[in-house]
């Protein structure tokens, strides 16, 4: 027991080595999470789920965002999302995609943070709200070029698909959050 405690203390002293206000562990995890988010969004881009209605997506990268929100805090979550979007944008996209994605990410992270803070919902509810916020953010950006009466149908479709995809991603996130200890 005392040996265990000793190890624990050593670990703590290592991980609390400050690096501009962050622990080394946090920095390492942030990097790993950016890489993971990039892989997930790349994987998702290989499977064209959104062929029928643009905007429908599973939001695999949101898995990383939610886990990070719970485990690494808001600052690191923003770093991870911005890092993922800019790096993916440079590698596979263009400037417009970067701006478009950043807008969506900020809306969705803000909503998820607020919902998380209320503590009413588990990660599943947080994920649902994030997915829908992201979809609605996209509609607002695209609203002018869309055909008028179809916008309402479009919103309904995106609300339903967002709720379902958000639930799946949220359940997965919840399992991960429960099983990683730091």
């Amino acid at each position: 027991m005392s040996k265990n405690q000793n190890i624990e203390t050593t670990k703590n002293s290592i991980s609390s080595t400050k690096h501009s206000g962050k622990t080394n562990k946090e920095i390492a995890l942030t990097g790993v999470f950016i890489a993971l988010a990039m892989i997930l969004s790349y994987l998702e881009s290989l499977v064209p789920i959104g062929f029928a209605v643009p905007g429908i997506k599973l939001g695999l990268a949101n898995l990383v965002t939610i886990v990070s929100l719970y485990k690494l805090g808001i600052k690191n979550t923003i770093i991870i999302s911005v890092g993922r979007i800019i790096l993916s944008g440079i590698l596979f996209g263009n400037m417009m995609i970067i701006i478009y994605s950043l807008a969506g990410a900020f809306v969705s992270i803000l909503v998820m943070l607020l919902v998380m803070k209320t503590k009413i919902f588990s990660a599943t509810g947080v994920s649902i709200c994030g997915a829908i916020a992201h979809n609605f953010g996209q509609i607002i950006v695209a609203v002018i070029t869309l055909e008028n009466m179809n916008i309402m149908y479009y919103m309904i479709v995106l609300a339903i698909t967002g709720a379902i995809a958000g639930t799946l991603i949220g359940l997965l996130s919840g399992m991960i959050i429960r099983n990683i200890h730091m």
Binding site: F121, A163, G170, G174
Partner: protein
């Protein structure tokens, strides 16, 4: 309580999910039920109503402003923008409109064509 904190899904999450699905369904039904054909088409330029035309008779209306030209055609109670010299052609490619509240917008020409009662 501890159990509740670490639960991956709570009752409130299910309530949220069901509420969203129900609201979406109600909105869909509402749209379907309230959809009704309009009686007139209202043409606005830069936010000001320029002309209101009845849908009962076939009619062609040419909009010419400093910003450009749009040709609006009313035929069989359906309104269409058939020609425009705007760069994006969003208005020209737009589907025809006939129900109250439907619009065709030409952003470059600040033109709004809307179906009214």
């Amino acid at each position: 309580m501890k159990q509740e904190e670490s639960a991956i899904i709570k009752k409130s999450d299910i309530v949220l999910l069901v509420a969203i699905l129900v609201i979406a369904l109600i909105t869909f039904v509402y749209i379907m039920l309230t959809k009704k054909p309009g009686a007139k088409v209202q043409i606005s330029i830069d936010g000001k109503v320029e002309k209101t035309i009845s849908l009962d008779e076939d009619y062609e209306y040419q909009v010419t402003t400093d910003m450009g030209n749009n040709r609006i055609v009313i035929k069989d109670g359906v309104v269409d923008v058939t020609a425009a010299d705007c760069p994006d052609k969003v208005c020209e490619n737009h589907v025809t409109i006939k129900n109250v509240g439907e619009t065709i917008i030409c952003l470059p020409h600040k033109l709004v064509v809307e179906i009214v009662e």
